[in-house]
Amino acid sequence: MNDFAAVARGVTKRFGRTLALDDVGIEIRAGESHALVGRNGAGKSTLVSVLTGMQVPDAGEVSFFGEPAPPVADRAAWRRHVACVYQKSTVVPELSVAENLFINRQDLGGGLISWKKLKAEAASLLETYEVAVDPDSLVSTLTVEQRQLVEIARALSIGSRFVILDEPTAQLDGPAIERLFDRMRSLQDRGVTFLFISHHLQEVYEVCQTVTVYRDARHIITAPVAEMSKPDLIEAMTGEAGGLNVPSGDDRPSSQDQVLTVSSLSGDHFSDISLSATRGEVIGLAGSASSGKHEFAETVYGLRKPSVGTISVNGSVVRGGDVPAALRAGIGCVPRDRHHQGLVLDLSIAENATMSTAGAFVWPSAQRSAGSTAIASYDVKASGPDQPVSDLSGGNQQKVVMARALAGDPSVLVLINPTAGVDVKSKESLLGVVDAQARRGKAAIVVSDELDDLRVCDRVLVMFHGSVVREFSRGWRDQELIAAIEGMSSE
C-alpha cells in the first residue's frame, strides 16, 4: 500500500495565453484531509480537473496510490480512483434527484435498473445529509443549496477512497456545512482521503491536517495546518504580509435621508415586509435557505413580481416585477446564481460589466476601457477586457457580476451572496467597495449568511419563514445571530 492517495508532479496547463498551472505538484497522503488554498484564478480548479482526468495537462504526471493514472479516454477507471464535487455544477438538470445521485450506476450493480430500489437508496442517502427533497423531483427544480448537497452526497457515496471537494461550502448554510464536516470526519476515520478547497480559511483549520498554497499558477508551500497561522496562510496566498481587513463601517456617517423604502411587501415565500434604508446605510439580511430572503431581495430588484406592497427609491415608487424600471430608479443587483442570472458566459468581461448601463450607443473603445477599469477596480484576474467570462475562474466571474451591478452608479445596491467563491483578499476588496459606496451616500442590502459580509452592515435583519423575526444592530455576537438564523431566537 502506497503512502500517497494522489500525487501530481510537474503539472503545467495552459489555456491559450493563460498559464493556469506552472510546473506544480501536490502530494496527498492517504487518509488525510488536504486543503488546497489560493486566490481566485490560482489554478486550484484546474488542478482538480487534471486530478480527475477531465483535462489533459500539457506536461506532468498524476498517480493514485502509486499507480499511474489511467488513459484519459477511460472515464470509468478515473472514476474508480477519484470522486469529485466540481466547482462547476455537474448535475443533469432534467433528470431526477435519485438518478443524479446514482448517475452511471443506476443499476446499483444489477443488470437492470430497478427504479423503486433506486428511489429508496436515494431517499436514504438524502436523509443522511438532511436534504429535504423528493428523490423523484427534477434537479432543475432544486435551489442552488439543494443542488450542491446532491452533488456532495453523490461524491461521498460512490465509495472512492479519494475524494475531491472544490468549494463545496460556498453555497451552503451553517448547518449544512456542519453536517458535511461530520460526514467527512467519519469517512476519514474509515480511511478516505480528501482534497478540500475553500476560501473560508477557518474551515481549513476545522477539517484539514495539511495545507497546500498555490499562487499565480505556482506551488508556494505545503505544510501541516497546525504550523500555519491564518496570517501566514494569507501571506502565502497573496504574497504580501498582513492579515485580513474586513471593513466594518463603524465610522460611516449616518444620515436621515431615506433612499429605499419598502412598505408591506409580500411575494413568493415572504410576506408583509417593510424596511427603509437611508443614505449610507448597509442593511444585512440573513436567514436560512427557506427564509425567503432571496425572494425578497429579488423582488426588490424587480426579478419577481410582488403580490402586494410597494418599493420606492428616493420617494418615487418603482414598478414591481420590472428590472429595467428598477435599474432606472437606481437599484443595482448582484443576483443569486451567477451562472444562471449573473453572466452571459460567451460574452467578454467588458460586455458583461457594461450590460446594465443605459445609453443607446456602445462604443467598443469606451466599453473596453470600462472593462479594463472593472478588471482593475475589482481585482479580476483576466488576460484583458475582451476575454470571455467563460474563461475566468469562479471567483473572478463573481467579481464581474459585482462590476455589472455597480456599473450604472446605482443609489441602492441589492447584493445576494456577493462574495460567494471569492478569495479572502478579494473579499476584502469587494466588501471595501460596498463600504465605499455607502460612504458615497448609497444604500445597500446585503443578503448573505457569511458573517464577514454581515459585519460591514449597519444592522442585520434575520428572516425566518418569510418574515423578519429579529433585528441586530452593529456589535452583534456570532452565536446570537446564528441562533436567530436557525429560528431559535430568544427574544
Binding site: 452511471n104 435498473i113 438532511e130 423528493d134
Partner: protein, 338 residues
C-alpha cells in the same frame, strides 16, 4: 461563518408524489389527442375504425416511425441528424445497384442477391460512423455536417442511378415490405419490436440512461464516467441503421427505389419527435412520446385523406393541425416548450 447548533429544517419539501405523476403524465400527453382523433375519424368516415384502415395507417407510418425512433435517440443525446432522410434512399439504392447488372440500371459489380440486406446495414453503419467522425473527431457542427451529408448522399444516389428508379429489387426486400405475420404487416412488427427494445433500453439499462445524461449535460456525464463520444457515436450509427431499415421497408413496400425516396421526410420526423415531447436541446423526452407523435400525425393525415380534402387545402390544414397539436400538448403538459 460555520458553527451552527442543531440542524433544523431547510427548504419546504414539495409533496413529491404529485411531481412524479406529472412527469409520467407528460409522456401520455398525446394519448387523449390520439383518442380524440380516433373519434373524429370514426364520426367522419364509417370505415375509419375498420382493422383494414387502422392497419393501413400503421403501415404507412412504419417507415416514418423508424426514422423518428432514430432521430429521437439522436436528439436525446443532444445532436441532430438531418441526413437520415437521404440514407432512406441511398442505402437501398446503392445496395441494389451493386447487385443488379448495368442493363437494369446497376453498377455492374454483380454482388450476390443475398448480400442486399447485410450490405444495406453496412452502408448505414458507414454513414452513421462517418457523421460521428466528422462531428466528434473533426469537431464540425452536427447540424451542418448532416445537412451537407443530406445533400451529398442524395446527390450520390442521383449520380449512381442517373435519376432512374431501380425496379429490380431483391426478393428479401420485397418479402419484408409485403408479408404479414399474424395478420399484421412485417413492417409493423419490426417497428413494434424496435420501439419495444428502444423503450426498454432507455428506461432500464444504464447504457440507455446515459443518453439522457449526455444530452442533458455532457460535462456532467463525462465526470460521471460516461464515455460521451462513444455514446454519441453509437447512437448516430444506430440512427443511420434504423433509417436504412426504414429504407428497406419502403423499398419493399413500393417495389422500387425512387431517386427521391425519403425526400422531405425529415421535416415530418422532427414534427413527430417534437410534438411527441422530444426536446431539440437534448436530454428530454421519451420514445413512447415520440411514437405517439408519429401516430398522431398518421391519424391526421389519414383523416384528411379520407375526407378527400382538396390538394389546394391539404397542406394548409396539415400545418394548422401541427400548430394546434403543439398548443394542445403545451396546455396538456402545462409546460413551456423549448
Amino acid at each position: 461563518m460555520t458553527k451552527a447548533m442543531t440542524p433544523p429544517v431547510s427548504a419546504p419539501t414539495p409533496p413529491g408524489k404529485q411531481k412524479f405523476q406529472f412527469a409520467r403524465y407528460q409522456d401520455l400527453a398525446l394519448v387523449p389527442v390520439i383518442i380524440i382523433l380516433l373519434i373524429i375519424g370514426a364520426v367522419l368516415s364509417p370505415i375509419f375504425l375498420t382493422p383494414g384502415n387502422l392497419i393501413a395507417v400503421l403501415t404507412q407510418q412504419s417507415e416514418l416511425s423508424l426514422l423518428v425512433l432514430g432521430q429521437a435517440m439522436i436528439l436525446i443525446v443532444g445532436k441532430m441528424d438531418l441526413s437520415l432522410e437521404s440514407t432512406v434512399g441511398l442505402a437501398p439504392a446503392l445496395a441494389v445497384a451493386l447487385i443488379i447488372p448495368a442493363s437494369a440500371g446497376g453498377l455492374d459489380v454483380g454482388l450476390a442477391a443475398w448480400m442486399a440486406l447485410p450490405l444495406c446495414l453496412l452502408i448505414g453503419v458507414a454513414i452513421g460512423g462517418l457523421n460521428g467522425f466528422l462531428i466528434l473527431k473533426v469537431g464540425l457542427s452536427g447540424f451542418m455536417v448532416t445537412l451537407g451529408m443530406l445533400t451529398m448522399l442524395r446527390g450520390l444516389q442521383l449520380a449512381i442511378t442517373e435519376g432512374k428508379s431501380l425496379i429490380d429489387v431483391p426478393e428479401s426486400f420485397l418479402y419484408l415490405g409485403s408479408t404479414t405475420w399474424l395478420g399484421l404487416p412485417a413492417a409493423v412488427w419490426i417497428c413494434v419490436v424496435c420501439y419495444a427494445v428502444g423503450i426498454f433500453v432507455l428506461k432500464y439499462l444504464r447504457a440507455g440512461r446515459s443518453l439522457y445524461a449526455v444530452g442533458g449535460n455532457s460535462e456532467a456525464a463525462r465526470a460521471a464516467g460516461i464515455r460521451v463520444d462513444r455514446v454519441v457515436w453509437t447512437v448516430l450509427i444506430i440512427g443511420s441503421v434504423l433509417a436504412v431499415i426504414a429504407g428497406i421497408l419502403m423499398t419493399g413496400r413500393l417495389g422500387s427505389v425512387a431517386a427521391t425516396q425519403g425526400e422531405g421526410m425529415i421535416f415530418q420526423v422532427f414534427a413527430a419527435a417534437v410534438i411527441g415531447g422530444i426536446s431539440l436541446q437534448g436530454g428530454k423526452g421519451t420514445l413512447f412520446g415520440a411514437l405517439s407523435g408519429v401516430l398522431m400525425l398518421g391519424l391526421v393525415e389519414q383523416i384528411l385523406r379520407l375526407q378527400g380534402v382538396s390538394g389546394f387545402y391539404i397542406k394548409a390544414s396539415y400545418g394548422a393541425v401541427i400548430i394546434l397539436a403543439l398548443i394542445v400538448t403545451r396546455f396538456a403538459t402545462g409546460q413551456k416548450q423549448e
